[in-house]
Amino acid sequence: MTAPHVESHRPSAMGNDLRRFVDLTRTLAVTDFKLRYFGSFLGYLWSLIRPLMFFGVIYLVFSHVAKLGSDVEYYAVYLLTSIVLWTFFAETTNGALRSLINRENLLRKIRFPRLVIPLSVSLTAFFNLTVNLGAVLVLALASGVRPQLGWLEVPVLVALLFVLATGVGMLLSALYVRFRDLEPIWDVALQILFYGSPILYVASKYPDSVQHQLSASPIAAIFTQMRKAFIDSSAPSAAEMVGGTPRLLLPLGVIFGVFALGWWVFNREAPRIAENL
């Protein structure tokens, strides 16, 4: 008897067909994006309106009432940039958290690489980010920010944020299947991260005693470097804020460490996701 050609047939995170993996991720992400914005009257604009409104309120409060940004060059641009980036991070992680549960009908009915689900959430959020960065660019140019060589760094910084958000997303989505109270826990964690990271303020506002430590969080480092590269080349770099270039290994280590952890946990859980839902 001919032995059948045995390919790995278990449910897995990645599958063994990269083309299918990419096609699926793309299809799911594009569909989500379409669903969110094409069905409504204002379409794409909705993607913009939320962070813009948020930005408007924050800007009024912090530049005119709390005067947080009085000594920051292009504070409005920094605020919008960081809010847009933060929106991407929050959208990815929050979306990924619930993603496996939301796609239960797919997971229980069809065999496909499980990682497609949280990754498509990252991708949808990334589409939004691209649209929103367009608005940031308009505001930046209108505010007097001029193109500089540092802009070349922007894609790298966005990529790092993408890796971090996707890592957290993989971790959360796999764990949420087991622990359903992760949602409120992550809500609180996001709040802490939001106020603890240099979003409404810049990293140099941290108290001197803990400035190096707090600036070494991945989000702080990315946002700080973003400010220098994109908005104001005279602003301190991430390396300066953490106290020396070698210390940049810390945020980088966290970014890739979280990604590796998320990857490992997701791979471990992937074969049994369908039955644990």
Partner: protein
């Protein structure tokens, strides 16, 4: 096509000379059913002991199964609810991981476990077709290339840009089915999808399955419906409690399945001996009654057409001359379908006190599929009709099963001639 009868629940052979499309080797799948599932971190923190020990029951959904499906086979899997057939299908489909064993699959596999997976009501048919096709294994380019074909098969050319939520459910099913069928997988897994749709649609489905089969594709078909099993499958596997009972030709398996199924139902039906009892039983009593097949084995279920006999055991307390034994058969609708007695037979003779006699009434089993109960009685013959000693309503029962229900209470052998004038 040749078939094999396995010994002791394991079979490794397919029809001779066929390459194997799917091989299942020693596969087991067990689910833990926790008594008290800890779904949150809080609970785990509060009950660390319970979290570690965690009482649970093991459910052996698939228990050490091995079999092969040959390329080009139409292979049926039948079994009662909870027998593990859907879990097995999900293991083959690669949706569930197996605990032990190996499943080998050759070729692209398309699961029809549910039609229209991933369909979104807010998107147009066009978008949904592409998404569904990609989910089922096509590349985006292939999906776009086959789009027209899919829409044509579903006969929905005029509704391509309509959102799915404005489709009727029948249109949605048609669309979903055409996507599934046009993915052109080498192996199709079909789980009761044909329960949906009208008769004409089901007919169309099976025509497609036969077309695919003729093209050498392999089809695994999970169902309860013995009629379609007998009509389409080459070989069928019967499952019970996560194990394979046997693999055989459809006719044999359909019979076994019905025995298994209806045997259980009859056991659970409180008909036996539950009925009323009349008469004083002073002179004679009906002690027991049961059904037997042609070989004299007691049965609670039997296939239509198989010889059937109803037996009664009668005990006498005094001497009785020429008693009359009779029995009446009622169906589920409580209609008396058949009754007979020894009244108009030659006299049966004298029975003495303390004597026990066995009466066996054999008949050709033309009964329509239903549950039948027998009401036996014994009576004294007299000039003014029978004087009843003992009547026991619904003392025994038998389930008659058949491939289809004709609508009549009996299926009398007949011939039909159609003569054109």
């Amino acid at each position: 096509m040749a078939s094999t009868t396995p010994e002791h629940g394991t079979s490794t052979s397919t029809a001779i000379g066929e390459p194997v499309a799917i091989s299942v080797r020693d596969v087991s799948k067990t689910f833990r059913i926790p008594h008290d599932r800890l779904l949150t971190l809080k609970e785990r923190a509060l009950h660390p002991v319970k979290a570690r020990k965690g009482g649970y029951n093991l459910l052996h959904a698939v228990d050490d199964m091995s079999f092969d499906v040959g390329a080009g086979e139409f292979f049926g899997i039948v079994g009662r609810n909870g027998s593990g057939k859907s879990t097995l299908l999900k293991c083959i489909a690669g949706i569930y991981d197996t605990d032990r064993g190996e499943i080998g699959v050759r070729g692209r596999l398309s699961p029809f476990i549910e039609l229209g997976v991933g369909f979104n009501p807010d998107l147009t048919a066009r978008d949904n077709v592409i998404i569904n096709a990609v989910m089922l294994g096509l590349s985006r380019q292939e999906a776009r290339d086959r789009f027209d074909e899919i829409i044509a098969f579903a006969e929905l050319e005029d509704f391509v840009d309509l959102r799915l939520k404005n489709y009727s459910s029948g249109m949605q099913v048609r669309l979903a089915f055409s996507v599934g069928i046009r993915v052109d997988a080498d192996i199709l897994l079909i789980d009761e999808v044909l329960a949906v749709g009208d008769a004409a649609f089901q007919q169309k489905c099976f025509e497609q399955f036969n077309r695919l089969k003729a093209e050498g594709r392999t089809i695994i078909f999970v169902t309860h419906d013995m009629y379609s099993v007998e009509r389409y499958c080459d070989r069928v596997m019967l499952m019970e409690n996560g194990r394979m009972v046997s693999i055989d030709v459809p006719e044999t398996i359909a019979k076994k399945y019905n025995e298994l199924n209806f045997g259980r139902i009859v056991e659970e039906t409180p008909v036996d001996g539950a009925g009323d009892r009349y008469g004083d039983q002073a002179a004679a009593e009906v002690r027991d009654a049961w059904f037997e097949d042609g070989a004299g084995e007691r049965v609670v279920a039997i296939a239509q057409g198989d010889p059937l006999q109803v037996c009664l055991e009668v005990g006498f307390h005094t001497t009785v001359e020429d008693p009359i034994f009779s029995v009446a058969l009622r169906n589920e609708m409580r209609q008396t379908i058949f009754a007979t007695s020894t009244e108009h037979e030659p006299p049966v003779g004298r029975f003495g006190a303390g004597e026990t006699t066995l009466v066996r009434i054999a008949f050709e089993n033309w009964l329509a599929p239903s549950l039948y109960s027998a009401t036996p009685s014994v009576a004294r013959a007299g000039p003014k009709g029978a004087n009843v000693f003992d009547v026991r309503e619904d003392l025994a029962s038998v389930r008659v099963f058949g491939p289809r229900f004709s609508g009549g209470v009996a299926d009398i052998p007949h011939s039909i001639e159609v003569e054109r004038q």
